[in-house]
Amino acid sequence: MALTIERVTEKLKEKFGDDILDITLNYDFMTYTLKRERIVDVVRFLYDDEELKFQFLTTMCGMHFPDAKEQLGMVYQLHNMIDNVRVRLKIFFPLEDPNVLTLTGIFSTANWMEREAYDFFGIKFTGHPNMKRILNIDEMDYFPMRKEYAVEDATRTDKDDTMFGRE
């Protein structure tokens, strides 16, 4: 019998219970919000379990919500290629403590994706073999994708920002 998303939810709730903070269906993607400390355990369970077999990491990216209590977040998307099921995992953590456990022990592809999250948001991954910036220059001392940094150069004087909602 092919794996269904309800079975995945059932098994996750059975194993992890309270560590799953929220379960929502977003447009055909079931999203589980977890506690930050359990991310590696949950991914390892999804990878190893005989029935679940989520052995493909599609993507991961960072998020920044300046208005929320826990400002930074990470989103992971896993894929079970045999039964064609996808899940999304989210974790949130405060700006003052941006440390997450690394997934490079399970998926080699997490290496560069975590470096990209570090480069853009400043999220540090404990246990990562090569935690340094990947796309920006090494000397950069701020994290550009955070919401407080504007897209345009703040020192520019030749544009009139009051017209047409540019600010």
Binding site: F29, T59, M81
Partner: protein
């Protein structure tokens, strides 16, 4: 006193070769430092980011209809696929229904650009192994594909083709004529190119066994697309999560065995044949006249004549451009089968004019991590061939 010249006898001396950011054999701007033991590669370290243009940050600034020029410039060899992927992501967010004719027209454009991408990759594998003639024959066909794009949208390489909901104008007579002529001519040219290289003794000796990767390692590294299919896994987004009407078409997925350069070359070559098959079927299924966009007045600009004469069209035009239309709040992930694999768009919308967060799942970025592992123990010339057969496009690497 020990100086740097006193190299201990039992320690091996390695040389470091800088396959620098600008190099004629690396197609794009990315750097590799190879640790060599004579001719053999022992280790490699990649540096990327030379063409990073902050697309994810720009995505938070630009309204939805201004994102396609960004997506164009990711995998610039097959930019229509990127554009269509973005349009479909927004259509998924707003829940738009696209007429079948538009879907089939999109499929024709996407398969043409897939042929363009694979054509470039295969002829360049030939060039990198010394066979320059095939390159010229195939690139003439690339010109024909670009003429078709130019007829539809006005641009050749970075096309910005299509709009949210369909196309900006209908395909005219010339476009259909050119597509049909291209299918006929390309069948012959691709046959010629394959007769030149497929069973060529020198080419086979160069490519078989160069840069292999096993299916387990490829899956662990997040490979998708022709690179994964060459390793033996038949994952294709067009079949796994069909979009834009692909479920109505009949095509095969070519799969390799070893995951080496020859398999990647053959998989791409075979995929071009499959794309031709799909285009022929789509030409049959498409009527020459009919709707060329969906009925979504909140997102698709009304025709200019109506904007100048009718009040309603003027208001719609104003609202779309200024971003006053209501957009749903939510997050959506949509993926398409790009030239290099699963190209994904993760869009988080907060109801405003621009996205709250836009993340591109770029296949090149993900599979280029495996390059050091693939070339370890091989020769330098195999390293070059592996790089060109993986079809690493710098625009998609950095975005």
């Amino acid at each position: 006193m020990e100086t740097i010249l006193d190299i201990p006898k039992q320690e091996k001396e390695y040389s470091y070769l800088n396959l620098g950011p600008t190099h004629p054999a690396t197609h794009g701007i990315f750097q590799n430092v190879l640790k060599m033991d004579g001719e053999k590669v022992v280790d490699a370290e990649s540096t990327i980011g030379y063409i990073h243009r902050a697309f994810e940050k720009l995505g938070e600034r630009k309204p939805f209809y201004q994102i396609p020029p960004l997506t164009d410039r990711m995998n610039y060899c097959s930019s229509p696929i990127n554009n269509m992927g973005w349009h479909m992501t927004v259509e998924k967010l707003i829940g738009a229904e696209i007429p079948k004719r538009v879907q089939y027209m999109r499929i024709i454009i996407m398969e043409l650009s897939r042929i363009a991408d694979h054509l470039i990759c295969n002829s360049v594998i030939g060039v990198d192994s010394g066979a320059l003639t095939g390159y010229f024959y195939l690139f003439e066909q690339r010109e024909d594909i670009y003429e078709i794009f130019e007829e539809i949208c006005g641009a050749r390489l970075t096309t910005n083709i299509g709009r949210i909901g369909g196309f900006e104008r209908d395909f005219n007579e010339t476009v259909w004529r050119k597509i049909e002529k291209f299918v006929d001519v390309y069948t012959k040219v691709l046959g010629e190119f394959e007769r030149l290289l497929n069973r060529n003794r020198i080419f086979v000796d160069r490519c078989v066994g160069a840069g292999p990767i096993s299916a387990e390692r490829a899956l662990n590294y997040g490979f998708t697309g022709p690179n994964l299919r060459a390793a033996g896994v038949d994952y294709d987004v067009r079949v796994a999560f069909p979009y834009s009407g692909y479920e109505d078409f009949d095509f095969n997925i070519p799969v390799g065995t070893n995951g080496d350069t020859y398999d990647r070359y053959m998989v791409r070559s075979q995929e071009m044949w499959e794309s031709l098959k799909i285009i022929k079927q789509a030409i049959q299924k498409c009527d020459r006249t009919g709707p060329f966009h969906a009925d979504i007045p909140d997102f698709y600009l009304p025709p200019k004549e109506e904007v100048y004469t009718s009040m309603e069209a003027l208001i719609y035009h104003f609202k779309i451009v200024m971003g006053e239309t209501d957009k749903p709040i939510g997050e959506v992930y949509h993926s398409v089968e790009g030239g290099n694999g699963e190209l994904g768009f993760y869009l988080v919308s907060d109801g405003g004019r621009q996205a709250y967060r836009l993340h591109f799942r770029r296949p090149c970025f993900i599979y280029y991590q495996a390059y050091p592992e693939m070339i370890k123990g091989g020769f330098l010339s195999d390293a070059i061939l592996t790089l060109s057969s993986m079809n690493v496009i710098a625009g998609e690497l950095d975005a």
